[in-house]
């Protein structure tokens, strides 16, 4: 039994197990894996498993069989990693992931904050490029530009020390007192609470401006001056 078990390596990942197989024939691997699982059912019960099959060439039948066997034992197979393009293609066909760990670049980042005090803020010391979406339950401060195609959704105020050319939604949970300000104010779209406004009048000169909901209940931008 030990001999077959040495074919298999199991590592813990942040969000599940990584099971690595080597290049031995698939039938042997499968049998070894199943006997490993059956010998420690409580360890595997309910696990999220990613399988590294190195250069094994697996077809749909192989993977479906494996997935069914695992799911019979309460194991969820979510990824199959392989050096073989055929196997990668197969796993994609079955809707399995083919890469682990490397999370997609932070295109949408949602930040959870435990204590939602009024003073909770997120400080971003960079330019937000197109495709970036920041969602935050508090204020957001950006030291950099917000490019067209980037979005900020904040429950509090949004302050941009740079150019605002993307979309900003302040007071996203309904705070009508929220404000948005930027050194160069040319947003694609602005929202405060449930009020929205398309691009403000194009500015010939870039001036710091602040946008808020005025007494008539509509969004308005005015020059941003101290006091």
């Amino acid at each position: 039994m030990n001999e077959t078990n040495s074919l298999i390596q199991i590592k813990g990942l942040r969000d599940g197990l990584l099971v690595s197989l080597d290049d031995a024939p698939w039938d042997e691997q499968l049998a070894a894996l199943m006997s490993q699982v059956d010998s420690q059912p409580s360890f595997f019960q309910g696990a999220r498993v990613a399988l590294d099959v190195s250069s094994q060439i697996l077809h749909v039948n192989d993977l479906v069989e494996l997935r069914d066997k695992l799911s019979d034992r309460g194991i969820f197979l979510w990824a199959v990693i392989s050096e073989s393009p055929t196997t990668e293609q197969t796993s994609q066909l079955l809707g399995l992931a083919t890469r682990i760990s490397k999370p997609r670049p932070e295109e949408t980042r949602t930040f959870a904050v435990e204590d939602l005090g009024d003073e909770t803020a997120l400080f971003l010391d960079r330019t937000l490029r197109s495709g970036t979406r920041i969602v935050f339950a508090g204020h957001v401060v950006v030291l950099g530009d917000v490019n067209p195609g980037a979005e900020i959704v904040a429950e509090g105020n949004v302050i941009i020390w740079g150019r605002l050319r993307g979309m900003v939604h302040a007071g996203s949970k309904g705070d009508r007192e929220a404000v948005i300000c930027a050194l160069d104010f040319s947003p694609m779209q602005l929202r405060i609470a449930d009020e929205a406004s398309a691009a403000m009048d194009p500015q010939t000169q870039s001036k710091p401006q602040i946008a808020r909901i005025n007494e008539f209940g509509s969004l308005q931008a005015e020059n941003w001056s101290p006091g």
Binding site: P85, P105, E106, R129, S130, G131, D145, P148, G149
Partner: protein
Amino acid sequence: MPAQVITVTSGKGGVGKTTAVANLAVALASNGSKVVCIDGDIGLRNLDVILGLENRIVYDIVDVIEGRCRLKQAMIKDKKLPNLHLIPAAQTRDKNAVSASDMNRLVKDLRSECDFVLIDSPAGIERGFKNAIAPADRVLVVTNPEVSAVRDADRVIGILEAEDKGPGALIINRLNPILVKKQDMLSADDVLDLLAVELIGIVPEDEGVLVGSNRGMPVSADPKSRAGQAFRNIARRLKGEEVPFLDLDSGVSLWERIQKLAGRK
């Protein structure tokens, strides 16, 4: 010295990625470097056409990856430049035939063989693009001076940063100095202002580029072409030389003179 691996990408299609790869490859190779181009646009291959090597393809990149031929067999030698090679894309397959690790392995084998590996990325930000940037040491982002191309370039630069490939260097392609002067086109400064990355070249709009592409003879081989000159300058910058940017305004006055002459007729 091991090769420098450079991927040329853009996000938006049709901005001149493939043309840039072909021209840079020719410019680098005529300068004595050993260059291998890889067409990463599997299913929609073009680089072979622009280099004029279409009729010589026997094996392609998928054949190498799937083990039907050796790497050397898939490397097509250029007609005129013996140190320029092309590994063509497969036309009858799609992007799923190749994975990022396949690209890494392939390029690893090439590194000791040449000075530059140039990879032509497909448009978009999906798998083909990810495959193309995976082995890159350096990424060149091609854009045109128009709002949608710049927007896509911004997105691509964001992804490159997130994948630890650095922000990339920018090529502004098809800039028309006359339109810029009339304020009908974004200027290079407008583009740089938004993207805030290193600029490695500005290529003026030039009909010769299209003609050259159709004939399979990239303009960087033509000493008289201004666009060719711009590509040759980029190639020298890739080799680490300091090359001043072309004075496009002098081009304007010349063009304007020609236009005036034409107007008088």
